[in-house]
């Protein structure tokens, strides 16, 4: 199965890629790992006349962390992030990176590509919304910093302008005592999740001081579950309050019926995963080691 014909250009730098993409116009698209883009092109989804290969631009795959925060280059692969010290330091990052598809896809797919695809089933936008991350871009009009939350405006539609590239992401190091978890449910490893949930929370005197919850594959874009958060912020985590948060999350989501399941099925998965994500994050915030990731049917 071939993609339709296209011209191939290799960019040596971010600046060169921006220039090439701007000159080539609407039919041009940046190619990073290609794990979404090439699949789309084989299915004739999108009409691309030119690919600008940014995969060889050096210095865009770094993973840095210090007390202030974490910075990840757009070309860092899922595998690279999964193997990094960061994935151990922040288990929520490891949950996500290790759970994406399979070894082969993780070898090639990049965090920047996952964001640029605008696909609500991709995991990084959900994880990065949970961590309130920023996304850094560079384009013909200069550099921009945008919140990941809201970056995807509609199904496969992002805030990226023509010729603009994602260069990296960053987020503040979670405060001491804050912990998170990323859980997903899917048919098998290479499949996209049926539903995925990210939770980051901090407890104080037995109460939930702060919490962020985001869901993937639960609507046309990543869902930031603000109502579910409001059910728990400043409250004690009990089976009853968790159930209220899970119900609120279901109300905020808008899953579609597809080959991965009916709406009712997905709603039941949302409830289970929201509770599991919160419970895992709570246990981790109390110092427990809990291993979670995507689970299969």
């Amino acid at each position: 199965m071939y993609p339709a014909p296209f011209r191939y250009h290799r960019a040596a730098s971010v600046e060169a890629a921006i220039r090439q993409l701007s000159e080539l116009g609407e039919g041009a698209r940046a190619l990073a790992g290609g794990q979404s883009l090439l699949v789309w092109m084989k299915m004739r989804f999108g009409d691309f006349t030119d690919l600008v290969d940014i995969g060889r631009i050096s210095g865009l795959d770094t993973i840095e962390q210090d007390a202030a925060g974490v910075r990840i280059g757009a070309l860092a692969t899922h595998a690279r992030i999964a193997r990094s010290p960061l994935a151990k330091l922040l288990p929520i990052v490891g949950d996500c990176a290790n759970g994406i598809a399979d070894n082969q896809v993780r070898s090639r797919g990049t965090i920047g590509g996952s964001l640029a695809s605008g696909d609500p089933a991709c995991d990084w936008p959900v994880l990065l919304t949970t961590l309130d991350a920023k996304l850094h871009t560079q384009g013909p009009d200069g550099k921009r910093d945008l919140p990941v939350d809201g970056f995807v405006e509609d199904l496969y539609v992002t805030k990226l302008k023509p010729g603009e590239l994602i260069t990296g992401i960053s987020f503040a190091m979670p405060a001491r005592g804050s912990a998170g978890a990323y859980v997903g449910f899917k048919r098998c490893a290479p499949a996209y999740p049926t539903i995925s949930v990210g939770v980051q929370l901090s407890l104080k005197d037995g109460q939930c001081e702060d919490i962020r919850i985001a869901l993937g594959s639960a609507g046309l874009t990543t869902i930031h579950a603000r109502a579910a958060e409001a059910e728990l912020r400043g409250k004690t985590l009990t089976p009853a309050s968790l159930a209220r948060a899970a119900d609120a999350a279901v109300d905020e989501c808008d899953p579609v019926e597809d080959q991965r399941g009916s709406i009712a099925f997905k709603q039941s998965i949302i409830k289970v995963l929201v509770k599991r994500g919160i419970e895992t994050a709570r246990r981790r915030s109390q110092g427990e080691t809990v291993e979670v990731s995507h689970e299969y049917y």
Binding site: F6, Q35, L38, A101, Q104, S107, P190, A191
Partner: protein, 165 residues
């Protein structure tokens, strides 16, 4: 607005199983087609063609990839290992012997991909747990064996290779 004018061919230089090749290819040529049709290395199979089944798995600079979802031009300058590169001097690789001895295949369609994923695992982790083995081939589907004999074969090969080390 797909393009109708002729597309410029792009040079691709790769080392496959230790041998250097140079070809001029259409940008849309997939790595799996490059290996099978340009280099006539047909051991790498095309299964689902949708990044799902893993039959087309090869090692690109040591990392397992699904070669149906890599452009040949993306592999330019790389070292590639395919299933043909496992056998040395007419002797099967211990993984191949173990798959044969433990009946780790039935129809054999998924086997090249299974072998390459297993090879990547054992290169990185000579003493894998049973969970490590399961995780390593989670991107490779087999529709015949039920996987148990594949797990046994990889375990046996790991033991054999450790003995040699």
């Amino acid at each position: 607005m797909s393009t109708t004018e002729p597309i410029a061919l792009v040079p691709v230089e790769v080392t496959v199983n230790g041998q250097w090749y140079r070809r001029e290819v259409e940008p849309r040529l997939l790595l799996v087609q490059f290996l099978r049709e340009e280099l006539r290395l047909t051991g790498t199979h095309i299964g689902c063609d949708t990044t799902y089944c893993g039959a087309c798995t090869v090692l690109l600079n040591g990392a397992p990839v699904k070669s149906c979802t890599v452009l040949a031009v993306q592999a330019d300058g790389s070292e590639i290992l395919t299933v043909e590169g496992l056998e040395q001097d007419g002797k099967l690789h211990p993984l191949q012997t173990a798959f044969s001895e433990h009946h780790g295949l039935q129809c054999g369609y998924c086997t090249p991909g299974m072998l390459m994923s297993a090879h990547a695992l054992l290169a990185a982790n000579p003493e894998p747990s049973s969970k490590d083995i399961r995780k390593a081939i989670q991107g490779n589907l087999c529709r015949c064996t039920g996987y148990q004999n594949i797990f046994k074969a990889i375990e046996a090969a790991a033991t054999e290779l450790r003995g040699k080390g």
